[in-house]
């Protein structure tokens, strides 16, 4: 499979961190960047994409920042991945089947999708369905179970200090 944008990893981690904010609080881009060890300019590009896709809300102004646009149960992993990498299919059919010398060019003969396209799109739909069936709430539950107590404390202290 083609490599995803590395922004996907950052976006998923950002969504998880933002899920830990108290209601109506936001976290500034510079703090999200610091928490994830990436540059603010790098992260801003991806935060803009998440905002455009209605995954997060950008509150402007000197006391502004980001928060989730919906409750964690309503933000799927697919929403986040597609915000960064787009919704286009991975497999592109260029209708190679029509190109052999002598092949009919009448589109009535090609009403049905090429079966190669159908099989390829069906396979990637399984990936998409899997990501659609998981939400930020699942990540929160994983975090609850798998992040060490000291790491949890570190992040919650950071949020308490910087949320606004």
């Amino acid at each position: 499979m083609r490599r995803m944008s590395d922004g996907v990893e950052a976006a998923l981690h950002c969504a998880l961190v933002l899920s830990g904010l108290p209601e109506n609080k936001v976290l500034a881009g510079k703090h999200l960047a610091e928490l994830h060890g990436v540059s603010e300019s790098y992260l801003l590009k991806h935060l803009r994409a998440l905002t455009a896709a209605d995954v997060i809300i950008a509150v402007p102004g000197p006391r502004g920042g980001y928060r989730l646009a919906h409750i964690p149960q309503q933000i799927t992993l697919l929403d986040i991945v597609e915000a960064i990498d787009g919704k286009e299919p991975a497999f592109i059919c260029r209708e190679i089947r029509r190109r052999a010398p002598g092949k009919s060019q009448d589109s009535c003969n090609y009403k049905r999708d090429c079966f190669i396209k159908s099989r390829m799109l069906a396979a990637e739909q399984l990936w998409r369905n899997a990501l659609h069936s998981q939400t930020v709430a699942d990540l929160m539950q994983d975090g609850e179970q798998q992040i060490s107590p000291s790491s949890k404390l570190l992040v919650s202290d950071y949020l308490n200090l910087h949320a606004r």
Copy 2:
């Protein structure tokens, strides 16, 4: 999902065409290119990748060409896709979870994969499994049912003329 190489479509169609060759016959790269309406130089790059991945065999010499390296039932769609696009995972984990200020750098604290990585890799594994469960023989069966009689005749005439 990130767009695949457009060589994937060409490679899948080439494998299907080669499955129609009489036993021990080959088809030259220039004829595979002509049948698919692509340039020979473009296709050669992908035929080399398919050869390196043991999907097809390249028979050298002036009477040379390509044939499938295995029976159609033993060549999966995943073999073909990975020959062109590689076997690397799409999601790359850069261990962002370790980067927050103050986070432990002791790798003993990160023995288990990040749960975000686990969920992302599990999703793409569904795509991989689907492609692994389908073979060139399935494409042959689709072709039998869905390609029009006139198109079938056109390709089989072409193969009779150019197979060697």
